[in-house]
Symmetry: C2
Subunit: 756 residues, 2 copies
């Protein structure tokens, strides 16, 4: 079975059961979908507003497909033909020993290509279906809120859970099916799978992030700040774009991002598991992560189904209900993991690693709360500094963001230290396996997490529909409560997303070492000279250079994204200003042209994608070819370390400014309209693109860079810089990166965006 | 001679000549001092204002001495007794073979202690004398500006040159005399010398930075923003503190910082030179850096003396005159280096490395200009974004800062690559020596650079005295021109300071490797297991942890500093507000209590020093003891890489905001008082502590961390964590760091500062 002669019956059954669980998760998603769609969509007025959002969302999703599909096509073909440069591994020849070597080549080529398409399309599906379901859900939540708090909560949460279970189901299905088909030859296909998912997540994150913040910042600047009208005021032409943006960013972007982390942790877990299998011939290293994931999905199904609330707000609390589901899932998982570890693994180490992951997720939650929740000191201090104006408020937020990045990074360091202690005395590959298991543990409850995250934009949009369609007070109060809860759940998920990204990247970094070593072994490189023996020595000047350059990539990426957002936002500002000047708009007698603002955001977001993706994909190739494999390792380390610090800084500074503003809007220091409030609005506007665009985009970027390096490693080891193919690739990479930077900096966006 | 039997007569004469040149530099400084002091101090009104500055400066300098001296005492004693833990090296025993081993122990102990005191007191002297001379100079510049442009320019530039030549003379003297006395046993004493200078520079940088920005931000917030009165308005109680602050930060802080880079590059150059001497038995590797430095000092003397201007502003330009001096020095140096390389080194490599350093300095100048000068696109874009308010202006600046950090880091990477190419095929120690020579090349014209930098606060203060004492228009115009020129020269020096800090840190990192390897060799560690052979492998999880933690340190440091500044600034704001409320102040009939604001800044700045210094000194000890020497190497790499990016980001974002404001004040987008101007003031206020406090403080911090690691390396290699001494040290370090963080975060500053 699986090309592995020594699989026990239990193991064979276990793997097929995991596959079944994947389908179970998808079936559960379908069931919830039917439940949600059965609900009514409320009054005509509500549906009218909603159609604006829906059309905007569709326009974005369709345009995104058109931008992305050709690229996927090209990459699929490249991956297929790559088999003629990097021939099948000995493992592949062994796995498919019934076929002639030429046939195996074909099989592996097709396998790589299909795995990539699978990863890419799954990521795309999670984002696209998830966002469509969120849009379907929001109007129904608004409608239900007129009847019952419990019903509104349930529709919102279940609409979100659909995305959660898609993430779980597709992620688990992909990893398992690849292992079933390819067995010991899986790494090749797994990398393709991971790369597809990660690349798409990068697209959706970056595109979604730019869209949502261009709309949000633009709408706020010209509406709240300049014209002095409230948020979600129907006279603001960008208001629908802003509502669509919440879905595009927090739903499609975040879901694809978490899907990708979910996928990459299982990919690196399986690759490192296979490395251990090759050393020990014990299949358990591979079966364990699959089973852990399977258990997590079952636990999520049970936990998410339990979330419900009472008829009225009194005595009910959305957060408590959602937490009940979460803790149920967590309890089921932890007990099952312990049993699995004892009775199947016959050792407690595996459980320890997974448990560290769960603790890590909780610790990062806690840290995120301390630095971004209005209930704790740091945000209160930021709010207080608004008394001396926006400059001191910005400085406080920067200081807080810097500090929070320090602690979160140290928590990650301690996590890795735990792996070292757990596998004390074992070779480094065990430790890296432990880190991968920690990543898997951390993402156990992805179903619940994504549900909680998608809940945010659904509740936010329902509230917006309520505002724009003038719904009654009691329903608005329920939606207000759901919206506030959604802000909290979104913030929590964001912390987990960044933390898991770094853990996943570290285990990919580990896979890079084993992968390069494997190729070197095949090439007959002496054992003491293989990468696992020599290591990535940053004390070598060339490798230190790799480290330096790698560390710059997240900064470059962030700077280009920030430029994109400010550029796109200024287009929105101009558009809304233009419409404000039209007769009838400010008086509210004429409806503004919402669709134009939506189009501007959509076009802007898609334009910027390509350049940023080129940088993520090409920079490791360029470094790898020009400097070599070891410096490329240094480059990866640089990307991870600097990306982690920068991402957390941006996320938490942004979150703190956001909530400092909320504190003041709740009445602190003079409340809305006061000078401190104006200062806090500046802070929030600065923080928004940091926390919702640049910061989150670093998660998939870090992993794209790692996966490209892994995919390119066999080629880089085999061919020297003098090979014509390498020279051409280096040249293409260099030109592409230069083009991307110039394009992203100057961009056609400085000219007028042409919308239909 | 020098305990080196194979020194040629030329080499012996050369070394003594270099020592003579050091005295020549100091003599030149004395001569200039006499010239400046002979000049008159102007009217009584001018002297009255000036006395306020002078008293403020004296108060700061005296208080600083009181804070620092006890600490120097303690560290001197510790360093002396360290010889009983780390016995003299075989080289020391060889050098002093005439004495008994016990005597040698005493000699080395005293040597370490004296070298440390020398480094510390030289750094202190450069800062203290330099700042005193700047204060003596400014009133004389103001007075001379009534007579002649040329005279004013010359006094300002020569007052600055005094600090420059102190830096040159003392730095060169220290390095040379240590080499003359200790010969091959120099590294021990050199490290003490470097550590003393760096630690003091850290104190002066951090203290100066907090002082200057607390005063500046505080004065601006409450004066310009709240009360709407101009900068330097005599009714503002913080106005004298602000003038003193310019000296404290840009003069004392910057001079000590550059002195320390100047010193550390010669320290690491000599240590790596000695490592090459041990391998090749060629003395030239050590003599070359000394001679390069000597030539640089002579060139600086000639070049700086040539700076003079015409009688009136017409047809004269301060920047052109200063540049003439700079290019003269540069030409003399480059030609001499080429000759030295050909006729003494008998190879062109040495010259190539030094030349790379000079090119690096020019490239960084250029980059800094592109990102921070109002004549280029980036600053114009930042200014333009002020039209949509302060939030977009902040975002633009952040994006620009991120981007500039990327390019400067890549320039550093290319510089290291040059060393690799220059020493292609040689072992890594040659490459590192090349990097050290690049650092020496980069700082060749330190005399000119420091002169240019100190010129800034002198001209600024002269202008302030002019404003406060109501001087006539023509004199004010001359001082305005000098002040504007000073802003440019300051900005240029800042870029060089950061760049040289990283290059110096990289060569210290190299010294760390050779030093640990030397100790391991003495302990009989097998060659293949010594650090130079194994390298710092970030692929080992433990070392990766070191890298992660190291990367957090600059962020932690910056966050604590930013908190300190905002805290201290808010005290100033409250004080000025309080004084504004007193009768007669706003009407200008009563003089505010300037001294109280000065005292608040002085006390605040000194309070925060200790905690920050503890973090820099203790964190490498803690990591080294808990994780080991290799992870400590990873830690150092992390500190360097992340410190470089963060420092450049903060410096350039701050510089861009500053100049964007100036552009608007010069009339762009409505000029002073317009909405864009208000937005730009917010940007400037945010940028000030970033560019003048947090950013520059990272330079000495990075090197303190490296030098502590170097000093501790022999102990860390010899003793395991289980040794009681190590446990106690780890505990003390942990407690000290925790205390420092809590103190710096909560600080007694949240309570009222008590001033006399």
């Amino acid at each position: 079975m699986f090309g592995l002669s020594n699989a026990t019956t239990f193991e064979v059954v276990a793997v097929w059961t995991v596959l079944l669980i994947a389908f179970l998760g998808l079936g559960y998603a379908l069931m919830l979908r039917a439940q949600v769609l059965k609900k009514d969509k409320g009054t005509e007025k509500m549906q009218e507003v909603w159609m604006g959002i829906k059309e905007g969302a569709e326009a974005y999703l369709n345009r995104q497909l058109k931008t992305i599909l050709p690229l996927i096509g090209v990459l699929t073909i490249l991956l297929f033909f790559s088999v003629y440069i990097v021939p099948p591994t000995p493992e592949a020849l062994e796995r498919f020993s019934n076929y002639s070597p030429d046939k195996v080549k074909l099989i592996i080529g097709i396998g790589r290509a299909i795995a990539f398409v699978m990863g890419a399309s799954f990521s795309l599906m999670v984002g696209q279906f998830g966002m469509r379901m969120a849009v379907e859900g929001n109007v129904r939540v608004a409608s239900a809120s007129r009847r019952s708090f419990g019903e509104a909560l349930q529709i919102a949460y279940r609409s979100g859970t659909i995305t959660g279970m898609l993430t779980d189901g597709l992620g688990l299905f992909g990893g398992t099916i690849i292992f079933i088909i390819f067995g010991i030859a899986s790494p090749d296909a797994l990398l393709g799978f991971g790369f597809g998912g990660t690349l798409l997540a990068l697209f959706m994150r970056v595109g979604g992030g730019i869209y949502t913040k261009a709309a949000d910042v633009g709408a706020d600047l010209v509406g709240k700040v300049e014209a002095g009208i409230p948020e979600d005021d129907p006279r603001n032409a960008a208001v629908i774009a802003d509502l669509v943006g919440d879905n595009v960013g927090d739903c499609a972007g975040m879901a694809a991002d978490i899907f990708e982390s979910y996928e990459v942790t299982i990919v690196s877990g399986l690759i490192l598991g296979l490395a251990l299998y090759n050393m020990t011939h014990e299949l358990k290293w591979i079966i364990f992560p699959l089973l852990v994931r399977g258990i997590g999905v079952v636990a999520s199904i049970i936990g998410t189904y339990l979330v419900r609330g009472g008829k009225t707000l009194e005595g009910s609390n959305a957060m408590t209900s959602i937490n009940k589901g979460f803790y149920t899932s967590a309890t089921i998982s932890i007990i099952s993991f312990a049993l699995l570890s004892i009775f199947y693994m016959h050792e407690i180490r595996a459980f320890a690693s997974v448990a560290v992951g769960i603790i890590l997720a909780l610790t990062i939650d806690e840290l995120t709360k301390i630095y971004t929740s209005p209930d704790y000191g740091p945000v209160k201090q930021v709010a207080e500094s608004s008394k001396t104006g926006s400059a001191t408020l910005i400085l406080r937020g920067l200081g807080l963001g810097f500090e929070s990045a320090v602690w979160q990074t140290i928590v990650i360091a301690v996590t890795i230290l735990c792996s070292i202690l757990i596998y004390n005395g074992y070779p480094a590959v065990y430790v890296l396996y432990g880190v991968a298991m920690t990543g898997i543990g951390m993402l156990t409850l992805t179903g619940n997490n994504v549900a909680m995250d998608s809940f945010g934009p659904i509740a936010d949009n329902a509230n917006g529909i309520g505002e724009l369609s003038g719904m009654d007070k009691e329903a608005r109060r329920i939606m207000g409560h759901l919206d506030a809860t959604g802000n909290t759940t979104k913030a929590i998920t964001k912390g987990v997303a960044i933390g898991s990204a770094v853990i996943a990247a570290v285990s990919l970094f580990g896979s890079f070492l084993t992968d390069v070593t494997r190729v070197q072994e095949q090439m007959g490189v002496q054992e003491s000279l293989r990468l696992f023996a020599t290591g990535i020595r940053v004390s070598e000047p060339k490798i230190f250079i790799g480290l330096l350059i790698g560390a710059t990539i997240p900064w470059l990426f962030s700077s280009l994204i920030l430029n994109s957002v400010t550029r796109a936002a200024s287009l929105i500002v101009e558009e809304v200003r233009r419409q404000f000047r039209l007769p009838g708009i400010m008086e509210g007698t004429k409806k503004p042209d919402y669709q134009r603002a939506v189009d501007i955001c959509t076009v802007s977001a898609q334009r910027e994608l390509i350049g940023l993706a080129l940088i993520a994909v090409m920079s490791p190739l360029l470094v790898g070819i020009l400097l070599g494999v070891e410096p490329l390792g240094g480059f990866l380390a640089g990307v991870i370390v600097s990306g982690q610090l920068l991402a957390v800084f941006m996320a938490n500074a942004g979150g703190a400014w956001d909530n400092a503003k909320k504190l003041i809007e709740d009445g602190l220091y003079g409340g809305k309209g006061s000078e401190p409030h104006k200062a806090s609005v500046v802070g929030d506007t600065v923080g928004d693109p940091l926390k919702d665009t640049a910061g989150p985009a670093l998660n998939p970027m870090i992993k794209v860079v790692n996966l490209v390096s892994l995919l390119a490693a066999p080629i880089l080891v085999q061919y020297k810089l003098s090979h014509p193919g390498m020279i051409i690739t280096a040249l293409i990479s260099f030109i592409a990166i230069t083009y991307a930077i110039i394009f992203s900096k100057r961009g056609s966006l400085t000219k007028k965006v042409t919308v239909k």
